[in-house]
């Protein structure tokens, strides 16, 4: 194994081989794993801009700036390697029972080939993780999650007739997101996904690779996630890139994805909320009601983990809400104008905790934010104390203007800043359930 060199495809520095400090089994690629698509993504990642995602090397951006990748997601199509997701296959006569006990949504109502987005909670009703749950057959499900959940699944499956398998490494996954995603799939998969409904699954083949296609994603746009076995990964990548060429498909990294998901108001674990089992103090934990997942909590279904606590919380009303903030352009202009500058905009999504005020009192904190190139707005996702969280409330968010902390007027809005019809719609079908 020769030392890995990042750079333009085909361009290698002149000179003798590097003398490695340690044998090859200790290189970065061994510390962080690479996904089944790595041979393609590495060759394309001109920026050499990688980050860690669940122990995998993931491209932050392929070019030095993520702009082109972002606009592909919104204007043509972005192809994103999402293989690092954790995936579990849950099978058996008690599979539905187990999952209904764990997640907040009603699994009994999940049709075959339907996908549910759902969080799951601890006994105290605090969110541990969130992900998608797909019914592959009557008694077979696949759960995706951001964090490892094997032990939680196994602990809760005691006494049930169910097999739980970590299939994280057995499935490679690509997200094809953007307005041209359907057209690309039509070409690549021969139309099997043309009529695929929102949060539904279908099966097919792409470039000869057997795939499952779900109409899901993390961009709030028209989009699909395509699942295949690792040995077919490169075939799948090549076929999608070939079919996508005329539709301007662009490999996209996590920086572009981050702007898109903030625009879509999609919450990110470990950024916007702390998983309850990782919180070292109680105050860091959140219930589904407090982080915009209240709609997923089906209190009418029988006992599930955290139900009692969530019933009580709903009765007294949550203390926090997760909402959108639109920072006033006029406020930005006047604050920056006072020091002789035009507004400085965060082109990359930020993920620090930023105080939010009602007058001089802090009533919340924003956890993600960015300039939306599409909406031409400075937007943020924020945790707000309920008396101050109603849509339309006027608050202010801290911004740092030329080294000084200022408060910029901001308005509370629903967190789905961008929610196009094409995300859910199906031109080929009359029924748009």
């Amino acid at each position: 194994m020769s030392p890995r060199v990042f750079g333009r495809p085909g361009v290698r520095p002149e000179g003798p081989e590097l003398l490695p400090v340690f044998p090859p089994e200790y290189t970065a690629a061994a510390v962080l794993r690479t996904t089944p698509f790595h041979r393609r993504t590495e060759a394309l990642c001109e920026a050499g801009n990688w980050r860690r995602w669940s122990g995998f090397l993931a491209a932050s951006s392929y070019e030095l700036h993520h702009d082109r990748e972002y606009w592909a997601i919104r204007n043509s199509a972005g192809l994103i390697d999402v293989s690092p997701l954790h995936k579990y296959r849950i099978q058996g006569v008690d599979a539905e029972r187990l999952l209904d006990r764990l997640v907040t949504r009603n699994v009994a109502k999940c049709a075959i080939h339907q996908v549910l987005y759902t969080p799951w909670c601890d006994e105290a009703g605090k969110v541990m993780d969130d992900g998608t749950l797909c019914r592959l057959a009557d008694d077979v499900f696949r759960l995706t999650s951001a964090l490892p959940n094997l032990r939680w699944l196994l602990d809760n499956a005691r006494g049930l007739n169910v097999q739980i398998e970590d299939v994280s490494d057995a499935l490679a996954a690509l997200a094809l997101q953007g307005p041209n995603a359907r057209a690309i799939l039509t070409e690549a998969a021969g139309g099997v996904a043309d009529d695929l409904g929102y949060f539904r699954l279908t099966e097919g083949a792409i470039g000869g690779a057997p795939v499952q296609i779900t109409r899901t994603g993390y961009t709030g746009d028209l989009g699909y996630e395509i699942w295949t076995e690792p040995q077919h990964a490169l075939t799948l990548w090549d076929a999608l890139m070939a079919a996508g060429r005329a539709h301007r498909v662009v490999p996209a990294g996590l920086l572009a994805l981050d702007v898109a998901r903030v625009e879509a108001g999609l919450i990110l674990i470990e950024v916007d909320y702390v998983p309850s089992h990782q919180a070292v103090i109680e105050a860091r934990k959140s219930s589904p009601y407090e982080i915009g997942m209240g709609w997923t909590v089906k209190l009418d279904k029988p006992g599930f983990v955290g139900r009692d606590a969530l019933m009580a919380e709903r009765a007294r009303g949550p203390e926090w809400e997760f909402k959108g903030l639109e920072v006033s352009w006029d406020a930005m202009e006047s604050l920056y104008g006072a020091v002789g500058l035009p507004p400085q905009l965060p082109s990359e999504g930020w993920r620090t905790s930023v105080p939010v005020y009602a007058g001089n009192r802090q009533v919340g904190y924003a956890t993600s934010g960015c300039w939306s190139p599409l909406l031409k707005k400075y937007i943020a996702l924020a945790h707000l104390q309920t008396p101050h969280s109603a849509t339309g409330t006027h608050l202010s968010m801290e911004i740092t203007v030329e080294h000084h902390r200022k408060k910029a007027a901001a308005r509370v809005v629903e967190p789905q800043f961008f929610n196009p019809d094409r995300k859910r719609s199906n031109p080929g079908r009359a029924d748009r359930s």
């Binding site: 340690f22 044998p23 089994e25 200790y26 510390v31 962080l32 794993r33 860690r52 669940s54 122990g55 490892p148 959940n149 094997l150 032990r151 939680w152 196994l154 970590d166 089992h277 990782q278 070292v280 109680e282």
Partner: protein, 527 residues
Amino acid sequence: MSAHACDAIVIGGGHNGLVTAAYLARAGKKVIVFEKRHVLGGAAVTEEIYPGFKYSVCSYVVSLLRPEIIRELDLPRHGLRILPLESTFTPLPNDDYLVRWADHDQTRRELYRHSPRDADAYDDFGRLMYQLAVAVKPILAMIPPDPTSMSPKDLLGFLKLGKHFRGLGHAQFHALHKLMTMSSADLLDEWFETEALKATMSASGIIGTLLGPRSPGTAYVLLHHYMGEIDGAMRAWGFAKGGTGAVSESIAAAAREHGAEIRTEAGVSEVIVRHGRAVGVALESGDEYRAPVVVSALDPKRTFLSLVAEQHLPGDFVRDIKRFRIRGSSGKVNLSLGELPDFTAKPGVGPLHQGAISISPSFDYLERAYDDAKYGEFSTRPFMDVIIPSMIDPEMAPPGKHVMSIFVQYAPSDLRGGWDEAKREAFGDAVVDTLAQYAPNLPGAILHRQVLSPWDIERSMGLTAGNIFHGELSLQQLFCMRPAVGWADYTTPLDGYFQAGSGTHPGGGVTGASGRLAAMKILGGKL
């Protein structure tokens, strides 16, 4: 007063004695430290026994050294550099291995290889121990109140303590209860299924203790080792550049800067008592020194039974000190090597040589090692915690050569028939032979070997029974019972006589906490 007068005398230039001296000097006291040996540091020393090769003779890693001491004495300015110790490698008899790396994801992958379930559990366990260590940490920096006293100060101390524990969540409180009562094996069995992982983790629960992983009480010792902290990160272990002696040297430098006088090769033979009060010390040389404050940083047996004539102390106190458990359980082997060990489980030279190497394949292995000691033998197949300091700090050995530090357990102080040179070397042979099972090139790579049994540690370092903690960290010897009820606040029944060694709260390891709290007590509660 004679010409030899000062404000305070510290007996013993180990790290705790030096810490006390530094704080007293910092407060403007005229302090003199007497160290019997030619080097400072006690069990925290670096010595060049074989030319060009530096051994951290006894203590060999840094983690428990209290961050407030590093801050307050500004030890980095006095030369302290703590280098990261990256990983723990456990080679297994079947030529597999287990590594816990510095990198979280890398460790997760490695654990996952052995048990996917343990990979999840490991994070949860680490978080719980972190929470408990945070919960228990304030106690480390507290002068233990006296449970038999009705004084407002002691009562207030217990009130504060009660309030602190009420603040713990239910889950943490129950976990703490378990930790205080269980064996480390039982505790770890509740969490994990990988034998090598459990055994290696349990090793922290037996170090310095003449108990096996299945003995109740060892879970607390496990927590004690979790309380180490570097740069705010709990459970971080490091290596002092220059060896552990560099820790002592940096504390000594801070003490000297504040005006303390430190004498080596100046053993104290006796504490001078006049009218029920300690008034000074007599040296082995016959010189006498006077001071209103005399501090012993030696272990409780030496502090009260060797340095002070028995008639000066209350009978029940003497009885308590005689009962204080201070059995030696460990030995140390230091090697100079011509080449690095090549492990059959993971051949070649890799980052694992920069971390700890733990010979702890299973609970049964460790418990069998303990069985030997229980019946008065050293372990023929001992637990070992090995590091290669020259891979972390290249100045520890000539270029291309290495030093290896091997902490070995069990080596009971009360060996059947007693220790002698032949038994010590047989013990050294067992260590090398055991390691050679995992790294066959090791015996041929040895250029020089130093073997220390508890007998040697007692003779050269002055630790009673060679116990590295100045007394076992068993529950009946902790907090307000360390070393005896009523005398856990660094005072002694003898006016003017104070104790500052690891035999006082919060106990063993290179923490400096005892020395600092003793100084705090002497200075009236404020440093």
